[in-house]
Amino acid sequence: ELTDKLESFFQGLKGRGKLTESDVKAALREVRRILLEADVNFQVARDFLKKVQERAVGEEVLRSVTPAQQVIKILHDELVKLLGEEWTPLRRAKEPPTVILMVGLQGSGKTTTSGKLGAYFRRKGMRPILAACDLQRPAAVDQLERVGEQAGVPVVTNRQGTPVQVASEAKQQARAGGHDTLIVDTAGRLHIDDALMQELTEIREEVKPSEVLFVADGMTGQDAVNSAKAFAERLGITGVILTKLDGDARGGAALSIRSVTGEPLRFIGIGEKLEDLEEFHPNRMADRILG
């Protein structure tokens, strides 16, 4: 693992006296390999390591008796800094209901996570409601209905409507029913599908969400920056949820998405059950990516 790799690397150099800048550079090439194997985007890894290199050289790693440990500390610090601020709760609207729009690629975990968020808000003593705005995937509305039932959260459906209509109806019903939070589930879609990206923009303009959460699969590879950037530029996102981190995916997509969109990670999905939603902690993610 990383500590051993770097220690043995620097041990091998100790024999020839003082460490040089190019020694540090060589050590960081090894770290780059680790980051790329963890699915951190190529450019993101490069920019990140440049920053680490500057700090390492500037902070007297060259004169340190424990260079490996110092490099790792710098790596960890910079990673935590980049992954973002300590967790803050989701924004609330001035007038209820607060609307949260769930978006992302096919199969990333939006429907499941919508249910998890519903359960999460209920645990906090709030009165959430769900909107089934995926009218294209077979049995998507059924799926959200079942999930909502399990979570004890009502689900607004209209199998004859359009996604924009259902979203609008849901907001009205949320107001009428005294619900303080509306979570809108949408169909998975490609960021290069103009018509479907346009549809999301229309939904957003209709319900004016306080949060637009990009739900991404934790095992996504280099493509994470492409989809995240497109959603951020075309639709505007306010936060990210990374799912399926109960597996052994290293989750480098977290760093890539955060870097390229500038938006914070809010939650991570760690299982298929309703309670498997965790507030995001940069420290833990940094450990995971560095392996």
């Binding site: 790329l36 096919q106 059924d142 699969d217 493509d223 399926k244 052994d248 290293r250």
Partner: protein, 278 residues
């Protein structure tokens, strides 16, 4: 950008970025760029020669992965288990395969053995209807082994040509869920000794290096002997096929290119080369 003049370190870096960005992984990328460096020791390579050289080297790496599509069917009913991690596209791919086989005049049976996830049975029932094929299902919450048992018994008595068994998504690190696949295998063999003839692992085309870890685990636990890669209609290049192919020699049968009934094509190694180098 790679199109002018002599090969230098910058150009090799650019090639490295192309390969990593396609999800080929560090190992495969290093081997390809090393080969590029070796070649430029002996002569100067011009810009567009770099790409054709790399394309040829990549093709060589994929040379033992033949064109995909159907394997040779040696027995009927031919039983395919479809497995993979959550959300990879298993259910949708079964719908597409069922349609493809039915259009060829084959008698197809879908076995809805995902009895776990909400509305999984309803979802695949819609696909069966779209493909115009029969389906055997159990209630959500029932034992998937029982559904496999009923499904294969029905396939034999109805003299079906193909059976497509849908299973619940599962992360390969969940030991008990992977054990469940062994159980489904045992149940299948009670009815048809050679079943499942095919265990098709469905991988999401946007998956990074975790795809290799998935493939290894599924081969171990459930005897995966074929691969399908979905969602390559997006911007992901699906390069993880390369390390999987090189390490596990799994034939890639199908590529998913969309959410519709017809959005499935047989794999050809040229597709990876074209996706990586454009």
């Amino acid at each position: 950008v790679l199109a002018d003049g002599v090969l230098d370190d910058d150009k090799i870096d650019e090639m490295e970025e192309v390969l990593i960005s396609a999800d080929l992984g560090v190992q495969t990328t290093m081997e390809l760029t090393d080969r590029l460096r070796d070649m430029t020791q002996h002569r100067d390579l011009l810009g567009d020669e770099v790409i054709t050289t790399m394309a040829r080297e990549l093709e060589k790496m994929l040379s033992d992965l033949d064109a995909g599509g159907d394997p040779e069917i040696t027995e009927r009913p031919w039983v395919t288990f479809v497995v993979g991690v959550n959300g990879s596209g298993k259910t949708t791919t079964i719908g597409k395969l069922a349609n493809m086989f039915a259009r060829r005049g084959e008698k197809v049976l879908i076995v809805a053995a995902d009895t776990f996830r909400q509305a999984a049975v309803e979802q695949i029932a819609i696909w069966a209807d779209r493909a115009g094929v029969e389906i055997v299902r159990g209630k959500t919450g029932s034992d998937p082994g029982a559904v496999v048992y009923d499904g294969l018994s029905s396939a034999v008595s109805r003299k079906v040509d193909r059976v497509l068994v849908d299973t619940a998504g599962r992360l390969h690190t969940k030991v008990n869920l992977m054990k469940e696949l062994e159980k489904l295998d045992r149940v299948a063999k009670k009815i048809i000794p050679n079943a499942p003839h095919e265990v098709l692992l469905v991988i999401d085309g946007t998956t990074g290096q975790n795809g290799l870890s998935q493939a290894k685990a599924f081969v171990q636990a459930s005897g995966v002997n074929a691969l399908a890669v979905t969602k390559l209609d997006g911007t992901a290049k699906g390069g993880v096929i390369v390390p999987i192919g090189r390490e596990l020699h799994l034939p890639v049968r199908w590529i998913g290119l969309g959410e519709g009934l017809d959005d499935l094509v047989p794999f050809h190694p040229q597709m990876v080369v074209r996706a990586v180098f454009g």
